[in-house]
Structure formats: structure tokens, C-alpha cells
């Protein structure tokens, strides 16, 4: 009855906007801080701290007008100075979401108290979308809490303090940050957007993701939302409980079998295609419910993803045909394929084993290896250590195709775990680069299309399915905006975090 929303995450968040970037931190940040631009569940860009903005014709200069009357949690007024400070701090510390802006934001200044000008070093189409991840902190408050550190005059830039406290203007403010345990926050009554009557009085983020614990708490009604990493069985058993609903949307995340294109035998495009045809996607959907079979190299829910490409489907005949075209047609069993799965996500083992069985039908020998996350990330940085195949999932960081295309298929991301191909496809690179530079949306979409066609051609990795974000939640006493929208059959575009507390309302008794 306290109207507190409790949800789980696999770890406690890092609530410093210049440091946090993982899942838990994203949820926390969106509720604690404000950004210049705000995106709604349907992907529309809305005014946030910026009341209005203009873009120069060359797409390099963005001018924002700062809204008047926004208060930080300690009562200070939010000014353009705070915005500039936040961006500079982010770019200096170089952690968290800074990767979205590094090398891109050339300069930021505040010609007046309510104007902020950002100059880019090159045009970047989705820039406004990325700004939803730029959180504004209270300069004065941070400066008051500096401790020793190595950022020159800014000492530690407030990093030590901001890990345990917030200096934001968002709808909720931190009351307790217990590492490895929980984050507790309560409503900030003076929030400029105001609250509706059903909004939670506070929220609690618990760092538990053990399935048993999560399930127990849900059933005891000690938890309102689960995290999205639960094994299918947890959701299935919770689905049967009265008052609990499962909510699943494809949020742009794609699970794929990422292949090492530089190693025998996955270096052969026909071999890769053969594998792509050998997977029984529909059967997989039976054990992995709420997923969608991929129809494009990236998730269809992203702006710019192309539906209607000729795409890979389960077809053993075609698979064998492709295999016979490959260099290894005569003796595929002599070229064992090593498929790694990340130990931290238990469901992945099922997948790896399924691949093993499917590829066996082609006569391809698969060795399944379990690797811990850290080891995998490390292996992915060296060609010779990168396994032939790895099941990995990746989500977009802004709601456009460019995010995933760049992360998974662009040669610049080789050496990170998202792209283990180790082979440059210059035409793909070029298409992606061009698209990202284009500020006109329609033009951009066309270029995205081009890139995706090329990718289908080379098939560097095999998309397995669009991986949805699945949450179980207490539908008995909560209404949740994304769920309501889904009921109205609207397409939800990833961008705003689903666990944005203003989208949650307690039902009136």
C-alpha cells in the first residue's frame, strides 16, 4: 500500500550519468535525471529540458533553448551552464554513454543562460536520438562534493559522490544506495512535468536475479516487475499466476550467431549460408517463446530496418545445396566448428546445443564451449582465439537501425564482442558510414536499406531471432503504459526505458 514499485536487475546500478551504461544503470538514470530531449514509447522525440531546438543546414550546429523553471532535487534551478558542465564532464571522464558523443561533439557552449549550442565535428543523422542518453547534473551540487582525484581543477569530478547520490532533476530522487543490494528512490514532488495520481511514490531496484528468488518474490507480491533475464521457465510459471502478466516486446535487440569469417570453415560464404538454412527457426521459437523469427539482419522494430528482404528460412535442401558450393563440401566433418555460449545466460546453452544438433544434420561437427563473459570479451579481441561461432545478443542504443548495423556489421567494431567476423566488407562499411552521416531521415532510410541488402549477401553472422524484452509484472494492481499501448496494437520503439516510473500507475481500489 506504500505504492512503491520494486523491480529486480542483475546488479546495482551505477547512478553517475558519466559512468553508468549497463541495463540497471539505464533504468536508474532515466528515472533520476532529465535529458535535453525525451522520447516516448512510440519513438517520437519530445521536448525535455530543451524547450525547442534548431539545426544548422550543414547538420553540424544544434541550438537548444533551455526550459525555465526546472528544479534540481536540492532545489537549485537548472540552467544552460549545468547542461554544458554535464557534457564536458561526460566527455572528460570518457565512461558510460560518452561513447555516443566522443569524437562527435566538438564543442558545447552556452551563449546565454537559457541557450546551449552544440557543434558536431561531422554530421550525424541520429544525433537527436542519442541525446536522450545525455543526462543533466547539478553543477553547483557536484562542485560542492569534489574529492581528491585526477581531473585537475575538478579533482575527482564528483565521481565518488555521485556513485552514492544523485544530482538530477528527474521525477525520482535517491534515498538509499546500497551496493550489491538495492537502490531506493522516492518521488520528487516538484518535478516539472508533474505526476498523475497513480504514479508510484517511489521505487526500489533490487540486485537479485536468481530465478528462484525472483519467482518467490513475485508470488509473494514483494516485487512488481521482474528483470528481463529470467529463464523462460520463470516467465511461463509466472504467467499462470493470477494477477501477474507477462509483457514482451521486441525492443531492437537481436540475438545472433556471430561467426568468425576469418577461420576455416566459417570463412566460406556458402558455408555460412548453409548454416543459416540449417537452423530450424520455428522450432526454436517453441522453446523460446515471445521471440520473432528474423526477417532482416537487424530487428524490425528499429527505424530503418527493412522488411521484405529475401531472407533465410529453415530449408535443409537449400542448406545442403549451399554446402556443396562451399570449399568444404567434400568433407565438412573434418572441419569442426566451435560454438561458444556465454555462461552467464543459462538459456543460451539450449541454443548452442540446438545448433549442434542442426548442424550435425549437415555433417558439420560442432563443439560446444561454455565461456564466462570476461573470457569471451577477451577472446573476441584476438582473431586466433575467437571461436567459430558465438551466440550473442546486442541491442541498439538509439532507436535507429544505424546503431545495430554499426555495432554488428561495421568493421570498426571488429575486436569487440559484437563483431567477431574479423573480415572487412568495405562496401558494407561504406553504406553504413554514409547512412549515419545523412541528416535527412528518408535518405538515411534508403542507405540503411542498401547496407542490409549487402549484409544478406555476405551473411557474416546469422541472426537467430529478435530477442524481446520480457518482464513479468503485477497487472493485478498496476497499469503499465507500454503494456496498454501493446494492447492497442501500437508498435513500441525502443528508446525510452520500459521501466520509466511515470509510465506506471497503481490502479485505484
Amino acid at each position: 500500500d506504500d505504492r512503491i514499485v520494486r523491480f529486480t536487475a542483475s546488479n546495482t546500478p551505477n547512478i553517475d550519468p558519466a559512468q553508468g551504461h549497463d541495463r540497471a544503470s539505464q533504468i536508474a538514470l532515466v528515472n533520476l535525471y532529465d535529458s535535453l530531449i525525451f522520447q516516448d514509447y512510440l519513438g517520437n522525440l519530445k521536448k525535455g529540458v530543451a524547450e525547442s531546438w534548431t539545426v544548422s543546414d550543414d547538420g553540424l550546429k544544434y541550438t537548444f533553448k533551455i526550459r525555465d523553471g526546472i528544479l534540481f532535487h536540492n532545489g537549485d534551478k537548472l540552467t544552460a551552464d549545468d547542461v554544458v558542465f554535464s557534457m564536458k564532464r561526460l566527455l572528460t571522464i570518457k565512461r558510460g554513454f560518452s561513447y555516443l558523443f566522443e569524437g562527435l561533439v566538438k564543442d558545447i557552449s552556452n551563449p546565454s543562460d537559457d541557450t546551449v549550442v552544440i557543434t558536431l565535428s561531422e554530421p550525424f543523422g541520429p544525433f537527436l536520438s542519442t541525446l536522450t542518453r545525455f543526462y543533466i547534473i547539478n553543477k553547483k551540487q557536484v562542485l560542492e562534493h569534489l574529492q581528491d582525484g585526477n581531473y585537475g581543477e575538478f579533482k575527482d569530478y564528483g565521481t565518488n559522490w555521485l556513485i552514492n547520490n544523485d544530482a538530477g532533476s528527474g521525477p525520482y530522487k535517491v534515498v538509499e544506495m546500497a551496493h550489491n543490494q538495492h537502490l531506493r528512490a522516492v518521488k520528487f514532488p516538484e518535478y516539472w512535468k508533474g505526476f498523475s495520481s497513480g504514479n508510484p511514490e517511489g521505487f526500489e531496484l533490487l540486485a537479485v536475479s536468481e530465478p528462484v528468488s525472483v519467482r518467490t518474490m513475485m508470488m509473494r507480491r514483494q516485487l512488481e516487475f521482474t528483470d528481463e533475464y529470467q529463464p523462460v521457465e520463470t516467465y511461463k510459471s509466472l504467467e499462470k499466476v493470477k494477477g501477474i502478466d507477462i509483457f514482451a516486446i521486441s525492443n531492437g535487440k537481436m540475438l545472433y550467431l556471430s561467426l568468425n569469417n576469418a577461420k576455416v570453415p566459417t570463412d566460406d560464404v556458402h558455408f555460412r549460408k548453409a548454416l543459416s538454412y540449417a537452423i530450424d527457426y520455428e522450432a526454436l521459437l517453441q522453446i523460446f517463446p515471445w521471440r520473432k523469427q528474423p526477417k532482416a539482419p537487424i530487428a524490425l522494430s528499429l527505424i530503418g530496418a527493412v522488411s521484405g528482404l529475401p531472407y533465410y528460412d529453415y530449408d535443409l535442401e537449400k542448406a545442403k545445396e549451399e554446402l556443396s558450393l562451399s570449399k568444404y563440401a567434400d568433407n565438412p566433418e573434418q572441419f569442426p566448428v566451435e560454438i561458444a555460449w556465454v555462461a552467464d545466460v543459462p538459456d543460451r546453452e539450449k541454443l548452442a546445443l540446438a545448433f549442434q544438433t542442426y548442424f550435425d544434420k549437415l555433417g558439420v561437427n560442432v563443439e560446444v564451449v561454455k565461456v564466462p563473459w570476461a573470457k569471451f570479451v577477451d577472446q573476441a579481441s584476438r582473431l586466433e582465439d575467437t571461436p567459430h561461432g558465438t551466440t550473442i545478443s546486442e541491442s541498439s542504443h538509439y532507436s535507429e537501425a544505424g546503431s545495430l548495423l554499426r555495432a554488428i556489421y561495421h568493421s570498426e567494431s571488429i575486436g569487440t564482442y559484437t563483431n567477431t567476423s574479423w573480415v572487412k566488407y568495405p562496401d558494407i562499411d561504406e553504406a553504413i558510414d554514409k547512412a549515419l552521416k545523412e541528416t535527412d531521415l528518408n535518405e538515411r532510410l534508403k542507405l540503411y536499406h542498401k547496407a542490409q541488402e549487402l549484409i544478406v549477401e555476405y551473411q557474416p553472422h546469422i541472426p537467430i531471432f529478435e530477442e524481446p524484452e520480457v518482464h513479468a509484472y503485477q497487472s493485478g494492481y498496476l497499469t503499465w503504459e507500454p503494456a496498454e499501448l501493446q494492447k492497442q496494437e501500437k508498435t513500441i520503439v525502443p528508446g525510452l526505458d520500459l521501466l520509466y516510473m511515470l509510465g506506471v500507475q497503481f490502479k485505484e481500489e
Binding site: N11, S98, Y99, L206, M217, R220, Q222, W373
Partner: protein, 339 residues
């Protein structure tokens, strides 16, 4: 006097062990795969940022230099920055260590008391159905990993029989100003008894789950040792002198028989730390083991080294403590100590 010298010698040698341990810790933590700088900054960080952090962490220096640098700062009580939580590791440890210690100590007590009690019970009922029953219980305890117990307790007490709290260290909103960091101790020190009770109740399930394994082993060891001793002449004599069964069992038979159990206890304290990880995750206990394993998976060098260091230290202390305990129980060991 002798015991004092014994403790001194024991402690001195433990220092040698600690140095050895530090070398092993250091090598191990470097050998664990993964690039710490990359892990810290996330997969999307630029190469320059990663390189900068690497230099900051002195990862570009030769390993010997790194070791001495590390040792020097550890001696100053500074374990460096945790890349995972972005806080000073020492600060993290200050939170996690007491939580785990509290858990491990309670588990060790449960283990000790109930293990030995069950052992005595089994000896007293030797050959009867009770004995077989206890034997089966012990085997279940030995072969069932502690996290399975944790899961079972979670299901049983969390759902079917919600009489005990299953998550966290205290109920929401309760807490005390830390002194030692162990909530039960702190709240008693501050005379805040409702919190003490609440914290203690929260300890019960995880500690029991953790203790089951060792408890079963202790029960077996105690039993076999007691049975070995029960035909000794001195027990026959005490029976013949008309001492009551209770006195014989709990005093004259137990004390000489409990020594192997106690020496095994020292080893089990290490095992408790190792097993605590999954139990801590299940009960959302902000403990050191969980922190350690997460740090390890995150390749958070400083945190990993610190955790092994602390655990090793605690273990060595526990070892000394148990040696002293044995010396107290068995005068032959104690009085020989000065030899």
C-alpha cells in the same frame, strides 16, 4: 606463557603464508582472462580511452613492478579503485566483508553446534533407527550443495510457509549506524534490539543453507570419533564409577572426540566463504563472496585481489583461532606447545 609463545610463533609463520598468498593472488588475478580496462569501460568505449585507463592502472608496466606497486598500496590499506563499482575497493570491502563475516560466523556456529549435537545424538542412538535416520540426513547434507538448500529454503519459507524473511539483511527501512558493519552486533551495541532481532531473523535462512554441508560432515566426524573413543578404558571406568550417561556423553566423551571435528572446522571456514557466493545471490545478501565472483567475472583486478587477500587473511586468522581452540580443548597439545 607457553600458549602465548605458541600464538606468537604461529602468527609469525602466518605472515610468511600471507606473503606467499599475496604472490599467488597477484599471479592468479593477472592470469584470469580478459582485459580489465576494456571490461571497465564497456565494449563500446574507444580504444584510446581503454589505453588511457590501462596506463592509469599501470597494466603496461612489467608484472614485477605491478606486484610491488600493488603490495605497497595494500600495505597502506589501499586496494585501489574497483572498476566494477567505480568506488574505492576498500570502501566496498567495508560493506561486504562484515555482511559475509556475519553470515559465515553464524553459519560456523550453526555448523559447530548442530553438527556436534547430531553427532552426539547419533552416537547415543548407535545402531538404532534414529542412527540410520541421522546417517541418511548427514548424507543428504553432504551431497546437496548449499545453493540447492538455499533454493529449497527460498521456496519453502519464501512461498509455502512465509514465516521467515528471505531477502536482504534487514527489513525495509530498518538499519543502524554501522560500527563493525555487522548489523546484529551493531544494533546490540546501540541497544536497538528490534533491529537486532530483525537482522538475526534475516540471517537464519542463508546461514543455515550455508551451514548444512559442513554440519553433516561434522556430525559424521564427531560420530565416528566418539564411537572410536566410547570403548576406551576411561569411558568404561567413568561408567563403572557411576557417572550419568549425560555427563559421560557431553563431557568426558565429547571433549576428547571433538578435536578432529574442530580441526576440520578450520578448513571448513574456507569452504564457507567459497560456497557463500550462490547463497548470497539467492538471498540477495550483499556479501564479499558474491562481490568477489562478480568482480572476477568482470575482471576487476583490484577487487579480485582484495577479496582473495581478505578471505585468505580471515582464513589464516580462523586457522590460528582453531589451533588455539584445539590447544584449549586438548591439554596435551597446549602443554607440548612450549617444547
Amino acid at each position: 606463557m607457553e600458549i602465548f609463545r605458541f600464538i606468537c610463533k604461529r602468527t609469525l609463520w602466518s605472515l610468511v603464508a600471507l606473503v606467499g598468498l599475496s604472490i599467488i593472488i597477484f599471479t592468479l588475478s593477472r592470469v584470469v582472462p580478459g582485459d580489465p580496462a576494456r571490461m571497465a569501460l564497456g565494449p563500446r568505449a574507444t580504444e584510446e580511452a581503454v589505453e588511457a585507463l590501462r596506463i592509469e592502472l599501470k597494466l603496461d608496466q612489467p608484472i614485477i613492478y605491478q606486484y610491488f606497486h600493488w603490495i605497497a598500496s595494500v600495505l597502506k590499506g589501499d586496494f585501489g579503485l574497483s572498476l566494477m563499482t567505480m568506488r574505492s575497493v576498500t570502501d566496498d570491502i567495508k560493506i561486504y566483508l562484515p555482511a559475509t563475516l556475519e553470515l559465515v560466523i553464524v553459519a560456523a556456529i550453526i555448523q559447530c553446534v548442530f553438527g556436534i549435537l547430531l553427532g552426539v545424538l547419533a552416537t547415543a542412538s548407535q545402531g538404532s533407527y534414529m542412527d540410520y535416520f541421522l546417517r541418511i540426513i548427514a548424507y543428504i547434507g553432504v551431497v546437496t550443495p548449499s545453493f540447492v538448500f538455499a533454493v529449497l529454503f527460498m521456496l519453502l519459507f519464501g512461498y509455502k510457509l512465509p514465516i521467515l524473511p528471505v531477502l536482504g539483511r534487514t527489513s525495509v527501512g530498518l538499519g543502524v549506524q554501522p560500527i563493525t558493519g555487522m548489523i546484529v552486533v551493531d544494533s546490540i551495541l546501540r541497544c536497538d534490539f528490534p533491529v537486532a532481532v530483525d537482522a538475526f531473523v534475516h540471517l537464519l535462512l542463508p546461514a543455515t543453507a550455508l551451514a548444512m554441508n559442513g554440519m553433516a560432515q561434522l556430525a559424521r566426524i564427531t560420530r565416528s570419533s566418539m564411537i572410536d573413543n566410547s570403548e576406551r578404558d576411561y569411558i568404561v571406568m567413568e561408567t563403572a564409577q557411576g557417572l550419568s550417561k549425560k555427563e559421560i556423553f557431553f563431557k568426558y566423551l565429547l571433549r576428547p572426540s571433538v578435536i578432529p571435528a574442530v580441526s576440520v572446522l578450520a578448513l571448513q571456514i574456507g569452504a564457507l566463504f567459497a560456497n557463500a557466493f550462490l547463497v548470497e545471490s539467492i538471498f540477495n545478501w550483499p556479501g564479499l563472496s558474491r562481490y568477489g565472483v562478480e568482480a572476477m567475472l568482470f575482471k576487476d583486478l583490484n577487487a579480485v585481489s582484495a577479496v582473495i587477500c581478505i578471505v585468505g587473511f580471515v582464513f589464516i586468522i580462523a586457522n590460528i583461532f582453531v589451533d588455539i581452540l584445539v590447544a584449549i580443548i586438548d591439554p596435551r597439545v597446549r602443554l607440548k606447545a612450549g617444547e
